[in-house]
Amino acid sequence: MDIKINYVEGIGVISIGGELDAQSSPELTQFFDKQVAESTQNFVADLQSLAYSSSAGIRIFLGMARDSRRNGGDLRIAAVQPQVDKIFKLSKFDRIVKIFPTVAEAINSFSS
């Protein structure tokens, strides 16, 4: 799995590529925990390059949302691929976290 972060207007845009499942999810958790510890509050998860997410992956995203909200911020999701979108809808994850078609819209949502 490939994880990168860059900052736009103080928002951590995390690009996640590859496949997210029970085996790869600890890597994302560790990465995110480090960002939260460094006091970033708001995040956008850019899923343009995420080809697959399992049920374990959903739990990780939920944990990320919960942790960022506890810190006074939020996690928004952007650019979800169709396979991942299916599982997000089945899990009602889209009812818990805001999802946007593009990273730009997700970033802008923090200021609207």
Partner: protein, 278 residues
């Protein structure tokens, strides 16, 4: 997850004839030598669950399936519906609009006199307590009675009593019983489930009732999946076949398509399943 052998459960949810997609799923799992440690079946899923847990060949299960979903299942429906509306048929908690003799005969041909304890793979069948709405797990005694209870679609088939409890369709309380698999120690859950189709034309109160049933059931399905997803320590692989058109209860001619879609949905998840199984 530890390196101990992962316990794999197959959950087949309610879906009437759509549950035949589990034949396609089973074919893939057999070809890939993926061993199943537990089968959980609800409503139509219970029929196929029996076949799989008994170690039947997919072809045998298909033959039994083909002879089950016929219009004989609904004998007496129209006459009894009319009679219930004009008051000549009195309805109570034990009533159904259909004469269930064909259903019972079919289920006996599938389950025979078999007991749960005689199955090759452990099987749990889910029904619903008619009086308090709670899900009921059935995994002991003879299989016929349990599957008959799980299939007791409210108002259509008469409820079925087991040990003094009046039981109806498992779908009413737990259409995709992943929680049962979790509770019984499954690490990996392969969950085949089906949503109900929505209508876009309404010409009768029955049509509106059917739409409402689809709305309620689909939301129960998703809400329960979402909760189980959060509750589980490991992976749930949702195997949700996508059909090219609406499938109604007696679309036997669509059986090859249903099975093929079950196979496709399983193949989509297969690389990820195999990765986790190591």
């Amino acid at each position: 997850m530890s390196n101990l052998k992962k316990r794999v459960a197959l959950v087949i949810g309610s879906g009437a004839i759509k549950c035949a997609a589990s034949i396609g799923m089973f074919q893939v799992l057999k070809e890939e030598n993926i061993e199943i440690d537990l089968v959980v079946g609800c409503s139509g899923g219970a029929i196929y669950g029996v076949g799989i847990a008994a170690g039947m060949d997919p072809h045998e299960i298909k033959e039994l399936s083909d002879s089950t979903w016929t219009k004989d299942l609904m004998q007496g429906y129209m006459v009894n519906l009319k009679a219930s509306k004009d008051g000549t048929l009195k309805f109570n908690e034990r009533s159904g609009l259909v004469d269930d003799s064909f259903l019972n005969e079919k289920l006996k041909s599938i389950a025979g006199e078999k007991l749960f304890s005689e199955l090759r793979t452990p099987l749990i069948v889910v029904a619903t307590d008619m009086m308090n709405g709670e899900p009921v797990e059935l995994s002991e005694g003879d299989i016929f009675n349990s599957v008959r209870a799980s299939l007791a679609i409210p108002m259509i088939f008469p409820p079925w009593e087991i040990d003094g409890t009046l039981l109806i369709d498992g779908a009413a309380s737990n259409p995709l019983p992943i929680d049962v698999a979790i509770q019984h120690g499954a690490d990996i859950v392969l969950a085949m489930g089906f949503t109900l189709d929505y209508r876009n034309k309404f010409r009768s109160i029955t049509a509106v009732q059917e739409q409402m049933t689809s709305i309620y059931m689909n939301n129960i399905f998703k809400n329960s999946y979402a909760f189980n997803n959060l509750a589980h320590h490991s992976e749930i692989f949702p195997i949700i076949p996508e059909f090219d058109s609406m499938i109604s209860m007696f679309d036997i001619h669509k059986m090859p398509h249903i099975i093929e879609k079950g196979k496709e949905a399983t193949l989509e998840q297969l690389p990820h399943i195999k990765r986790l199984l190591g």
